[in-house]
Structure formats: C-alpha cells, structure tokens
C-alpha cells in the first residue's frame, strides 16, 4: 500500500467525519436551492482545511499536497460543490499569494484566507479566452498610482462570495508569457461588479459568475508579483490545482462506489440481491479498480509535489484520469441503481451531474493530454 503518514491519516479521518456528518446531509438541499455552503466553509476554516498549503507563519496548517489531496477527496465525497470552492481557494489562490505576494498583501489577505474567513477566487477565463488564456483581452492600464481595468471574466468559481479575487489581466502586448499581470480584487472597488450567475448542470451550490470591470480603479498596491508576471502566476498554481481537481474527482468516485455497493446488497430482484448477478459484480469490480487507479495517481502526483519534484505530467495525468474515472463510475452507479439512480432522491444522480465538469475546468482534458504528450516527447528527445 502507498505509505501515508499517521498525521495524514488523522487529517483524512477528520475530514471524512466532517464530510459525512455535515456536508453529505446538506448537499442535496444546497444543490437543489443553489445555496452557497458558507456555514460549512467557516467550520472548515476553523479546522484548518482552508489553509492547508499556507505556511504556519501566516496561520496556515502547512500540511502539504498529500494531506491536502486526502482531505479534499473526503470533502468531495460529502459535497463536490464545497470541494471545488476549497480547491480553488487552497490550490490556486492561497498558493499564488504565498509565492508572489508582498508581506503587506500576505498580512491583509493570506492570513484571513488561511482561517477561511476570506475565500479566494481566481479569474482567468473570458468569454473569448478559455483554453487559450494568452489571448485574453481584459485590460489593465496604469494611471498614476492606479490601474484602470476594463473587461469581462466568465465562469468564475465563488465569484460572488469570494473575499478576494485574483484577476489576470492584460498590461502589455501579446508577447507570449509577458503581457499579463495579476491583481487582487475586492468587491468594494469602484467599477467592479458581479455579473450573471450561471445556471449549471452540477456543482450547483458553488456560484459560477461573470465578473464585470468598467473603468475599475485598482490601487497599484494590489498588483500581485510584478507587471508582466501574470501568466507565470496563473501557471504556478496549476500543479496543485490539477491535483485538487483530481482529488475532488476521486472523492466523487469513492462516494458513487460506496453507494453502489450498499444499494446492490440491499436491492432484490428475481428473488435475490442484485449484487449476486454477475453482470453487476463485474461492473462493481471495474468501478473499484478504476477508483483505486485514480487514487494511486492522485497520491503519486501529490507525493512528487510534496517532495519538491517536477510533477507537471503526473498532475495532468491524475487530473485527466481521475475526472474520466469519476464520469464512468458515477454513470455506472446510476446503472446499478436502476430507475432509482435517475431520481434526485438518491445521491448518485447528483454525483453524476457533479462529475461532468471535472473533465472541463482547470484545463480541459484535451489540454491535459497536450501537456502529457509534450512532457512525454520532451523526455524522449533527451535520451
């Protein structure tokens, strides 16, 4: 078995307890009513789950990618909407401010973020720039001690409820990797507003919004890193971000498998448990293998990251595999539940909807395959 430290096992267990006692109970209601899991996120902050990669100096729990991935899977087991907020916040937002923020920015934002009292969002995607972020057009023009920002961001997780949003905007020309900069945006800035909330297929308790900037004046002190460093900042959180979404997908697969096992033992047709039919036993065996394979890939990527090794390809593989696993396994879970699987009263219906986005956000799986192939061919060339 993959060796997990005692400490990380305890973290996994506490996250599991919280997810199963609290999140799983509320998930269906929150999904149906598109209700943001604010009260649960607050408790997660108290537990240290919102600052898992933040250093202790700034009040984080600094537990590293392995413990983080384990905890995030457990949270997703209970509620994938809560897990995506946790993932964006921890992997990308806390990570970028920790790596690129000034001391003052860390005091103002990272500290409350590590406590979960300020939740982070990350705004890269635009209506005309999705997989190709280099083409984004939201602009930031320096004017004295301010930047004037104009443009629209799309599909931003926690756009409405975030206390701070890391915005990637254009400050220069189209020169690859140089023309973008990152800014720390708060809702009080003049000229900034939240646009429409998307009506989504799944992960409905997490808000996904447009962000509108119309001559929005941002103090220069809110520039994260230096001018032109935006692309680097956006890419820096990607490994952790992909491990995060991989872990989230894993949690969905685990939940769907557990539900399927218990349903197959309980449901009777043709005078026996449906778990006795070979057709379903093979399906369950496939699901179990699939979940295990994803788990090992997630832990492998997280362990490499924790050891400070290059893990670009492993993070992409884990994200790609685990998200596709989540789609397969949640679909099979519905099949095993028969007609009941299609009904909202059973959680597998929600798992299936929640899993669908995981192959798309945090870099589509096509983009992941481009990265994996690039890494593969790059390594080959060296030999």
């Amino acid at each position: 078995m993959f060796q997990i430290s005692k400490e990380n096992l305890m973290i996994q267990k506490t996250a599991r307890e919280f997810a199963r006692k609290e999140l799983a109970e509320l998930a269906a209601h929150r999904d149906a009513h598109h209700e943001f899991p604010g009260s649960s996120l607050k408790k997660m902050g108290d537990m240290g789950l919102m600052g898992m990669l933040v250093s202790e100096t700034y009040g984080g729990s600094e537990i590293g990618p392995v413990g983080y991935a384990l905890a995030l899977s457990e949270i997703a087991y209970g509620c994938a909407s809560t897990a995506v907020v946790m993932s964006v916040h921890n992997s990308i937002c806390c990570g970028s401010i920790q790596s690129f923020g000034t001391d003052a920015q860390k005091d103002e934002f990272l500290r409350p973020m590590a406590q979960g009292t300020c939740i982070g969002a990350f705004a890269l995607t635009e209506p005309e720039a999705g997989s190709d972020p280099q083409s984004l057009s939201c602009s930031a023009v320096k004017e004295g001690e301010h930047y004037i920002i104009n443009g629209t961001k799309r599909f931003i997780t926690t756009g409405k409820h975030a206390g701070v949003i890391i915005l990637i905007a254009r400050t220069g020309n189209n020169e690859p990797g140089r023309g973008l900069s990152a800014f720390l945006i708060t809702h009080d800035l003049p000229g900034f507003s939240v646009g429409r909330m998307e009506d989504k297929m799944g992960q409905c308790a997490s808000d996904t919004t447009d962000l509108l900037f119309s001559d929005c004046r941002v103090p220069a002190s809110r520039l994260l890193g230096h001018e032109g460093q935006g692309f680097e900042i956006a890419m820096s959180g990607l490994d952790d971000g992909r491990i995060g979404i991989a872990a989230l997908s894993l949690g969905l697969g685990m939940a769907a498998l557990d539900q399927s096992v218990s349903y197959a033992k309980q449901r009777r047709q043709f005078g026996k448990q449906i778990a006795e039919f070979q057709g379903l036993r093979w399906m369950l065996a496939d699901m179990d293998m699939d979940v295990d394979a994803a788990r090992l890939m997630v832990l492998n990527a997280a362990a490499l990251k924790q050891a400070g090794k290059h893990c670009r390809a492993q993070a992409s593989k884990a994200k790609c595999y685990a998200s596709e696993m989540a789609q397969r396994v949640t679909g099979q879970a519905i099949q095993i539940h028969g007609g009941y699987g299609y009904i909202k009263e059973y959680p597998v219906e929600r798992f299936y909807r929640d899993a669908r986005i995981t192959t798309i956000y945090e870099g589509t799986n096509q983009i992941q395959r481009i990265i994996i192939a690039n890494e593969l061919l790059k390594d080959k060339k060296k030999k």
Binding site: S5, K6, E7, M10, I11, K13, T14, E17, F18, R20, K21, K43, D46, M47, G48, L49, M52, S61, I63, G67, S262, K265, Q266, E345, Y346
Partner: protein, 261 residues
C-alpha cells in the same frame, strides 16, 4: 479542575456494515473501521469546555492495546492535554467490572476532581461508570446532559424517562456518565493533529498500577459472552425498507389504512 475522561475504541457503525462472523459468536471484526465511542466524544468536549472556563487539565484514558493510540491521539487533537494508555496482556477479555478495576488503578495514580465516562458504548449497558464510582467510593450520576460549575460541587441535569429532566447537586470529586446532546463536539482541527502526532503517550501496565492480574481480564471475568446473534424476525412486525422519505410515505399509508390517521 483536573478531569479524567474514560474513552473506548469501538467499531464505527456509521462506516461499517456490522455483520456476524462465521462462528456466529461475535461480529466480523476484519477490516472494521474503528472510532472513538460516540458518547465519550461528548464527555471529552464537556471536559474541554469546563477547563476552558476554569483552567486545569483534561486527561483521556483508555484500556486497550497499541491500536487504541489513535483514539487517544484524536481526543488530544480535539483539545485534551494528556493521554494515558492502560495496556497489559492481562487486561484482555475483561468484563465491565474488570475494566472498572483497571480504570480505578489509573484514577488512583492521579489527582482528579472529576471523572467522566460515556453513558454507554458498543457493548454492555453503561455499567462501567457506576462500578468505577462505587469502587472509588465517589458520588455518581448517570445520563448527565447538563453541567453547571459551583464551589466544590456541580449542578447537573439528568435525562429522565418521558423526556423529563431533573437537576441535582453533586459534590466533587465525583464520577459522571455523559449523555449525547450535552454539547456539540468540535471537529478535530489540523493544528491539533499536528500538535499531537509526535507526542509520546505514556502507558501503564497492571504492575504499574498495582493491579492483581487475576482480578482482571479473562481470568477475573465473572460475566462471559456465550452467544451473539441477530434475533429471528418475530410475527406481527413489519420492517419498512427504503429511504427515509419512502419509509415515511409507507408509514402514512399504513396508518391511514388502519384508521390511525
């Protein structure tokens, strides 16, 4: 206030499907996920809250082997300052009186104002707390669901049949068994986990506590489990199955059909 809380490691009924073993004399224990007994968790939370108010220390103690380290650590991560593992081959197979005898040894090694147990655990019917109090010759109250602090005494609420409650004064030191619902146990935080993950937890053996090995464990057990089974379904009972909503719908139908609604 110096508080000792007795905690037990039990199979987690939320995480396991409890099934009979093939010999039919116990539950199947392979691959079980264990946790701290639910009632004990409320007792630890209550102890932490008392110490937060008036100072002192919370010590958690369990009778068990190395595997029980995890529950002590969990309760310490929650906020109990000290842990104590009572571990000896001679303790295996103890009945409730044996467990109480061992715990008494631990209580006498310390200087506690208050000893808490859970109201009950996975086996037995809440016998340990009462026996422990009697052995220590201390006042005892069971099923406590409220504690107010006083000078040299506590005012405690107890749950009574039919949903009534009584209030009592009890002098310290004393033993209380704690009912669920007395508080809302906190979730264990990562900072707590990091604090305790490397801590050495002291162990005491029968000899350390001056306990006669023949008085505890299988040797000393006057109560022995001879059978363990799921009772046959009786006549006249109908088990409703399905999700909670389905069960409610069926129940309403039955009540209507029989003139109950």
């Amino acid at each position: 206030m110096e508080i000792l809380v007795c905690v037990k490691r039990v199979p987690d009924s939320a995480e396991n499907e409890i099934e009979m073993n093939s010999e039919g004399n116990d539950i199947e224990r392979d691959d079980l996920v264990y946790s701290v007994n639910e009632w004990d968790n409320y007792a630890v939370e209550e102890a932490i809250q008392i110490v937060d108010k008036v100072g002192g220390t919370v010590t958690v103690v369990t009778v068990g082997d190395e595997d029980c380290d995890e529950i002590l650590r969990r309760e310490m991560a929650m906020g109990a300052e000290k842990g104590l593992l009572l571990n000896d081959d001679a303790f295996a197979g103890s009945d409730c009186k044996g467990i109480a005898t061992i715990l008494k040894g631990a209580v006498q090694k310390g200087n506690y104002d208050l000893v808490l147990t859970g109201a009950q655990a996975d086996e037995g019917a809440g016998a340990v707390g009462g026996m422990l109090a009697a052995m220590l010759d201390l006042p005892y109250a069971s099923l406590v669901n409220k504690i107010e602090l006083g000078e040299g005494k506590l005012t405690i609420g107890r749950e009574i049949e039919g949903g009534n409650r009584e209030m009592n004064e009890i002098t310290l030191p004393c033993v209380l068994s704690i009912q669920t619902g007395i508080n809302e146990p906190r979730y264990v935080g990562i900072r707590g986990i990091r604090k305790v993950s490397g801590v050495e937890i002291p162990e005491l053996s029968a000899a350390d506590m001056g306990i006669d090995a023949a008085s505890v464990g299988e040797a000393g057990a006057g109560v022995k489990k001879v059978d363990y089974f799921v009772p046959e379904k009786g006549e006249g009972a109908e088990m409703l199955e399905g999700s909670t909503d389905e069960i409610i719908a069926k129940l309403i139908e039955i009540l209507k059909a029989n003139g109950g609604l």
